[in-house]
């Protein structure tokens, strides 16, 4: 049994949990049980809309967030893939969404919603929604998706997230370096608050392509009051439009 299963909730928190549980049942009937609390019974507050754009951190690119200091050590298989990689086949040019570990560093806004049994990460980029389950459930057998399957737990003032069950992705490491990721990719994230900032350290492991884990740390700032995420509605025609501007690598 998980440690969080034995916790006693404070009265207001219990009321909140009960209300959220009813809401969850109403939403999709998938609610399993309230377990979103730390050993002290207090959930760190990450709720809100967060700005991950250019005023907060350097824009992503071939050397960001993967700088020469934290760039992953690639194995021979990854180097071979990188050698033959053709930018034109990158799935993003057909509006396939960005995934971990790139999605978190894409320079867009993000919203965090906390329920008793899950944390929801909504990304303005690609209209993505990640559900982090806090109720101890196991990943579905043989089910692999772009965003994988995430479980989490609170530890002190931090939220720890572990994601597995990613589908193979030819650009699954980032959008710039032609490094794929496999079904063995495992991404761990640690979120915590520092003043008004939301911070995260992300570590990616993939023994199919990386010799050792690679990590980066980044931050978000609160969005302006009242800001709501806008729909992305990726347009496939304009996503691929620029591909013809490249000199083709293969004919």
């Amino acid at each position: 049994m998980r440690e969080t299963d034995n916790l006693v909730l404070s009265r207001p928190l219990a009321c909140l949990a009960a209300a959220a549980a009813l809401f969850a049942v109403a939403m999709d009937g998938a609610f399993v049980g309230a377990s979103a609390q730390t050993a002290e019974g207090v959930i760190p507050d990450f709720v809100g809309v967060w700005d991950g754009g250019g005023r907060v951190r350097r824009i992503n690119g071939p050397n960001m967030p993967w700088t020469p200091d934290n760039f992953p050590v690639l194995n021979e298989r990854a180097l071979a893939y990188q050698e033959v990689f053709d930018e034109a086949i990158a799935p993003k040019y057909d509006c396939v969404p960005s995934a971990s570990p790139a999605l978190q560093y894409d320079p867009y806004y993000m919203e965090v919603v906390q329920w008793p049994d899950r944390v929801l990460f909504r990304y303005e980029k690609d209209d993505q929604l990640r559900t982090v389950w806090l109720d101890g459930r196991e990943p579905p057998l043989n089910e692999y998706t772009v965003q994988g399957f995430s479980v989490g737990r609170y530890e002190g003032d931090a939220l720890l997230v572990e994601t597995t069950h990613f589908v193979f992705d030819i650009t699954g490491f980032d959008d710039y370096n032609g490094i794929p990721s496999s079904q063995l990719k495992r991404v761990t994230e640690r979120y915590w608050r520092e003043g008004e900032e939301l911070r995260m350290t992300l570590t990616v492991e993939d023994p199919m392509f990386l010799r050792e884990p690679a990590s980066y740390t980044t931050r978000w700032l609160p969005a302006r009051e009242g800001y709501k995420l806008n729909p992305y509605d990726c347009d496939a025609e304009d996503a691929r439009r620029a591909v013809k501007y490249m000199i083709p690598k293969y004919r």
């Binding site: 992503n60 930018e87 867009y108 959008d175 992305y232 509605d233 347009d235 304009d238 439009r241």
Partner: protein, 151 residues
């Protein structure tokens, strides 16, 4: 409208760039494989379409080449969700607008893409967001991150 189209060295166009506003915003892809960042092109013409979309917006400019042929340039901008935070709307640029764009040309022969562009009125004066209430705000171009910026 008589259009002008020329290619210069990067150093020569830096002077032109000083008179306009622009900033890199979000990155969906690196510009280097698509555009030649050692060259700049000036395009003056008429807007035929403005796609205010994600992951990239595009302005289409019909312009007459030095050979007298009409060419439609495709000026790649940033994501609509990011541009909207700078005051852009799908009405900011409209078909029929006269416009000048200076930016990096696309690499593949026979294509007319333009990246990282600075947009102005045809005479070089700044474009204002005249269709918004706050028309004192100068138009700010959201473009790809130039590789020269160290991305």
């Amino acid at each position: 409208m008589k259009a002008l189209f020329w290619i210069s060295s990067l150093a020569a166009v830096v002077v032109l760039g000083l008179s306009v506003t622009g900033f890199p915003a979000e990155a969906h892809h690196n510009s280097t494989p698509f555009y030649d960042d050692t060259q700049d092109v000036e395009v003056i013409g008429t807007v035929t379409r403005f796609n205010f979309r994600n992951p990239h917006s595009f302005i289409f400019i019909e312009s007459e080449s030095e050979d007298g042929e009409m060419v439609e340039w495709e000026v790649e901008l940033g994501a609509a969700v990011s541009m909207s935070r700078s005051g852009w709307t799908r009405e900011t640029i409209q078909a029929g607008d006269a416009i000048r764009a200076v930016g990096n040309p696309s690499r593949a022969e026979g294509t007319f893409g333009l990246c990282c562009a600075q947009l102005t009125q045809p005479d070089g004066s700044p474009i204002q967001l005249v269709r918004l209430e706050n028309d004192e705000v100068p138009l700010q171009l959201v473009a790809l991150v130039p590789s020269a910026a160290g991305d």
